[in-house]
C-alpha cells in the first residue's frame, strides 16, 4: 500500500526543479499512506497485501497458488538482485528506513545476525509449535533463546558427486573416507595430469564450514549470554591441513566453484568430482551440460569409515521482518509455504527443494530423481538417509558476515601466496572475535 502510493509521486519528478516539487509531493503522499494503513487492518474483509523477497526461480508458481486460494492475503514476489550477504546487508540497511518487504528468504547462517540487528521478529505469537514437524537439527537453526525466528524450508546436506565413467576407467569406487579421497585424487591426476578430482573453494565459506561441521568443529558455542568462538579449533585445523596437503601436491584445483575457470573445467571434463550438496543437480545443467548422464551422487567421504556425520552447504528459512505491517498474515504464509504438505509439494515441484520438515521427506513428489540425476533413481532416498547424519554448529554467530568475508580473503590470499591455511584460520578467528567484541557481545575465544 505504502509502496504503491510512494511510486505515485514519481510523476512529479519530470520537471527541472524536480527536487523541491518531488520532496513536497512525496511527503504528502507518504502521510496519506500512513493514515490509510492505520485504518487498514481494522476491517476484516479488507485484502492484505504482502511482499516477499525470494531469489529462487520457481517461486512465481508457489506464490500464485497461494494467491489463488487466499483472496484475503495477496502476496507479491520480489526477486532480489543480490543474494547472500549482499541481500542481508540490504535488509539491514533498509530496516533502518523501515522499507523492507514483509517476508524474506534467509540462509540459516545469517539468521542470528538478522535477529541481532532487529531485522526480523519472533514468530512465537503467530505460529504453533514446530517441534512435531522438524528434526532438532533444523529447529536449532531458527530457534534462539526460546523464540522461533523463521520457518525452515530445506536442508542441504553435503554430497559427493563424481564422474562414473572416469572412476570406472580407473577401477575406482566412490571414496568412503577422506584418506581414500586423497588417494583417488592423486591417482586420477597421475593418470591424466589435466584431471582433478575436485576443487578447494576459497570463495564460499559455507562450503568450508560444512566440511568443518562434519569434522566436529563448533565455531560458535553459547552459554547464557556468553559466546565462545573457536573457528581455529582442532577439528577445523584438521580440515584445513588436509586440504592444504591436497592443494600443495597439485592434485586438487584451487579454483572456486561457480568461477568461469571451474565451470569450463567441469564441462570439459577436467574436473571429475565435486564436493557439493543436495541441490547440485539443479546447477549441473548450466555448469556441465556436456557431461550429462555421467555423474553419480554418493555420501560424503568420512573421517573414520562408517561415520555418517555430515555438514550442510546452503539451506534457508523464511522470516517475517520488523518492517511488516501485517506480521500475522505474513507468518501464516510462511508457515503454509514451508511446513504444510501443499506448500512443500509446490516447493518440491517448482523449486526442487529437499524439505526440512520430516513428514515431507517421504512425499511421493520425491520419488523421482531430479532430471539431471535420472540415471540414479534413488537420489532422493539417498538424500533422506544422508540428512539423518546432519550436524550443525551449536549456533551461527551474530556476525557471520565478517567471518565469511574474512574467510574468502584469507584463504584466497593463502592460495595465491602459497601460505599456511592454519594461519588463514587464525586471522578469520581474530577478525570474528574483534568484531563481536567491538559490537558489544560478550565473547571469549
Amino acid at each position: 500500500m505504502r509502496r504503491k502510493l510512494a511510486r505515485h509521486g514519481a510523476v512529479a519528478a519530470s520537471v527541472l526543479a524536480a527536487a523541491t516539487v518531488a520532496l513536497a509531493g512525496c511527503s504528502s503522499s507518504s502521510s496519506s499512506a500512513a493514515s490509510s494503513t492505520s485504518a487498514g487492518p481494522a476491517s476484516s474483509n479488507q485484502v492484505v497485501h504482502l511482499t516477499i523477497t525470494d531469489w529462487d526461480n520457481g517461486m512465481p508458481a508457489v506464490v500464485a497458488a497461494w494467491n489463488k486460494s487466499h483472496p484475503d492475503i495477496q502476496v507479491q514476489l520480489i526477486k532480489p538482485t543480490g543474494t547472500g550477504y549482499t541481500l542481508y546487508n540490504k535488509l539491514i540497511t533498509d530496516n533502518r528506513a523501515g522499507t523492507n518487504p514483509d517476508i524474506s528468504e534467509i540462509e540459516y547462517q545469517a539468521l542470528p545476525e538478522m535477529v541481532a540487528n532487529k531485522v526480523i521478529i519472533s514468530l512465537n505469537q503467530y505460529i504453533p509449535s514446530l517441534s512435531s514437524l522438524y528434526p532438532q537439527a533444523a529447529l536449532g537453526l531458527v530457534q534462539f533463546q526460546g523464540s522461533t525466528y523463521g520457518v525452515p524450508q530445506n536442508i542441504c546436506p553435503m554430497v559427493f558427486f563424481y564422474r562414473t565413467d572416469v572412476f570406472k576407467k580407473l577401477g575406482l569406487s566412490a571414496p568412503t573416507t577422506w584418506a581414500q579421497y586423497a588417494a583417488d585424487a592423486a591417482k586420477i591426476h597421475k593418470a591424466n595430469p589435466k584431471e582433478y578430482l575436485g576443487n578447494f573453494d576459497a570463495a564460499d565459506p559455507e562450503w568450508f564450514a560444512g566440511l568443518a561441521q562434519q569434522a566436529g568443529a563448533n565455531w560458535w558455542t553459547t552459554s547464557g549470554s556468553n559466546w565462545t568462538v573457536a573457528i581455529n579449533d582442532a577439528a577445523t585445523q584438521k580440515v584445513a591441513n588436509y586440504w592444504q596437503g591436497l592443494v600443495n601436491s597439485g592434485v586438487i584445483s584451487p579454483e572456486p566453484s561457480f568461477s568461469t575457470q571451474w565451470e569450463t573445467d567441469m564441462n570439459k571434463g577436467n574436473i571429475v568430482g565435486w564436493i557439493s550438496a543436495q541441490w547440485a543437480p539443479n546447477q549441473f545443467p548450466s555448469i556441465a551440460p556436456s557431461t550429462s548422464g555421467q555423474w553419480t551422487a554418493a555420501a560424503l567421504p568420512a573421517w573414520t569409515a562408517g561415520d555418517k556425520t555430515v555438514g550442510t552447504w546452503g539451506g534457508e528459512a523464511e522470516v517475517v521482518t520488523t518492517s511488516s505491517k501485517h506480521p500475522k498474515q505474513a507468518a501464516e504464509f510462511v508457515q503454509w509455504m514451508n511446513s504444510s504438505q501443499q506448500g512443500l509439494n509446490l516447493l518440491i515441484k517448482n523449486v526442487e527443494v529437499f524439505p526440512a520438515a520430516t513428514f515431507a521427506q517421504s512425499s511421493p513428489e520425491l520419488q523421482t530423481p531430479p532430471p539431471f540425476m535420472s540415471d540414479q533413481p534413488g537420489y532422493n532416498s539417498l538424500m533422506s538417509s544422508i540428512s539423518t547424519g546432519v550436524r550443525n554448529f551449536q549456533m551461527w554467530g551474530p556476525d557471520a558476515s565478517v567471518t565469511f568475508s574474512s574467510y574468502s580473503d584469507a584463504f584466497a590470499s593463502a592460495l595465491q601466496n602459497h601460505t599456511s591455511f592454519v594461519s588463514a584460520l587464525n586471522s578469520v578467528q581474530k577478525a570474528t572475535v574483534n568484531d563481536m567484541k567491538n559490537a558489544g557481545f560478550q565473547v571469549t575465544g
Binding site: T86, N89, A116, F144, T260, Q261, S405, A439
Partner: protein, 297 residues
C-alpha cells in the same frame, strides 16, 4: 581567461543558471556526505542477552578511523591502487591524445567506425565485464595465451587490472579530447597548412598546445578515477584468488557498507581515502595549472 566575464552585468541569469546545479548538489551529494561523515563517527552497540535485547547506534569517537589507520590491509590496498594508477594513467592519457589527434587528422579514414569502436568498451556494462574477461584471461578458454601466461600472478595482476581499466575509459577520454579539437577554430590550422606545415607538425605544434587544458583535465580526472578504482578489480575478483574483497580502498568501503553490515567503518575508510585524495588532487591540480600556464604563455 582574462576576457571572459570581464564585463560585469547586473543580470540575474548566471545565478539562476547555477542555482539548479547547486541545489541538487546540496540535496543529493553534500547532505548525504555530511550524513556519511556523521555515520563514520558512530557504531552499532548491542547490549543484553545473547543476541542483544537492545541494538543501538552509539557515538564511537574516532575509533572507526583509528582502526582503519591501524589495519595493515588498508595500507596495502592503497599501495595496490597506486600501482595500478602508475601503470594506467599515463597509458590512458597518451593513447587518448594520440587517438583524438588521429581522429581529427586530415585524411584519416575509418574515423566514424574507429570512434565507435574506441567508445564501445565504455558502453559495456560491468555486469558482463567479469564474464567477458574471464573468457579472455582464464587458461581454460583464453585466446590470448592465458594457458601459458598467468594473467593473475602476484605481479601480472596489476597490469591485468590496469589493462581492463584503460580499455574501459580510453573511448571516454578520446571523445572528450576529440570534442576539444572540434571546438578549435578551423582558421589556425588552415593558416599553418598554407604555410606548408605537415599534418604531424600541425597536430603536435598547433593542436596539442591548444587542447592542453583539456588534456590536463582528463589527466586530473583519470587521477581521481584511479583513486576511486573499484569497477575493474571487482569485475575480475570472481575469476581469481589474487583479488580479495579489500584489494583496493573502495572495495573495502563497498564490502563494509554493502556486505559486512558496517556502514560506519566503511564511511571512515572512505573519508580517510578522501582526505588523502584531496591532498593528492590539490597537488596534482597545482602542477597541472602550472604546466598549462607555461604552455599557454
Amino acid at each position: 581567461m582574462a576576457i571572459a566575464g570581464r564585463k560585469k552585468h547586473s543580470s540575474k541569469l548566471p545565478v539562476l543558471f547555477v542555482a539548479p546545479a547547486l541545489l541538487l548538489l546540496a540535496l543529493f551529494t553534500f547532505a548525504p556526505a555530511i550524513y556519511a561523515f556523521y555515520l563514520s563517527l558512530m557504531k552499532v552497540h548491542v547490549t543484553g542477552g545473547l543476541l542483544g535485547t537492545s541494538t543501538a547506534q552509539v557515538f564511537a569517537g574516532m575509533s572507526n578511523y583509528t582502526s582503519t589507520f591501524k589495519d595493515p590491509q588498508f595500507w596495502s590496498s592503497l599501495e595496490r591502487m597506486l600501482l595500478v594508477a602508475v601503470i594506467g594513467i599515463p597509458v590512458t592519457v597518451v593513447l587518448a591524445t594520440v587517438f583524438a589527434l588521429c581522429l581529427d587528422a586530415n585524411g584519416a579514414r575509418l574515423t566514424t567506425v574507429s570512434r565507435l569502436a574506441l567508445f564501445l568498451p565504455y558502453a559495456v556494462p560491468g555486469v558482463i565485464a567479469s564474464l567477458l574477461w574471464g573468457f579472455l584471461y582464464l587458461p581454460a578458454t583464453s585466446p590470448i595465451g592465458g594457458g601459458v601466461f598467468d594473467y593473475f600472478g602476484n605481479r601480472t595482476i596489476f597490469f591485468t587490472v590496469a589493462n581492463v581499466a584503460v580499455w574501459g575509459v580510453i573511448g571516454f577520454n578520446t571523445v572528450v579530447l576529440y570534442t576539444a579539437l572540434r571546438a578549435l577554430p578551423p582558421d589556425i590550422c588552415r593558416a599553418a597548412e598554407v604555410d606548408g606545415a605537415t599534418e604531424l607538425q600541425i597536430a603536435l605544434r598547433i593542436k596539442l598546445p591548444q587542447i592542453a587544458p583539456a588534456i590536463s583535465m582528463i589527466a586530473l580526472f583519470s587521477l581521481i578515477n584511479a583513486l576511486q578504482l573499484f569497477n575493474e578489480p571487482t569485475a575480475l575478483k570472481p575469476l581469481t584468488n589474487a583479488i580479495t574483497s579489500t584489494w583496493v580502498p573502495l572495495m573495502r568501503v563497498y564490502s563494509d557498507s554493502f556486505v559486512n553490515n558496517d556502514i560506519y567503518g566503511g564511511a571512515a575508510s572512505a573519508f580517510t581515502l578522501l582526505i588523502m585524495t584531496v591532498a593528492v588532487t590539490v597537488a596534482g591540480g597545482a602542477v597541472a595549472t602550472r604546466l598549462t600556464r607555461r604552455q599557454s604563455s
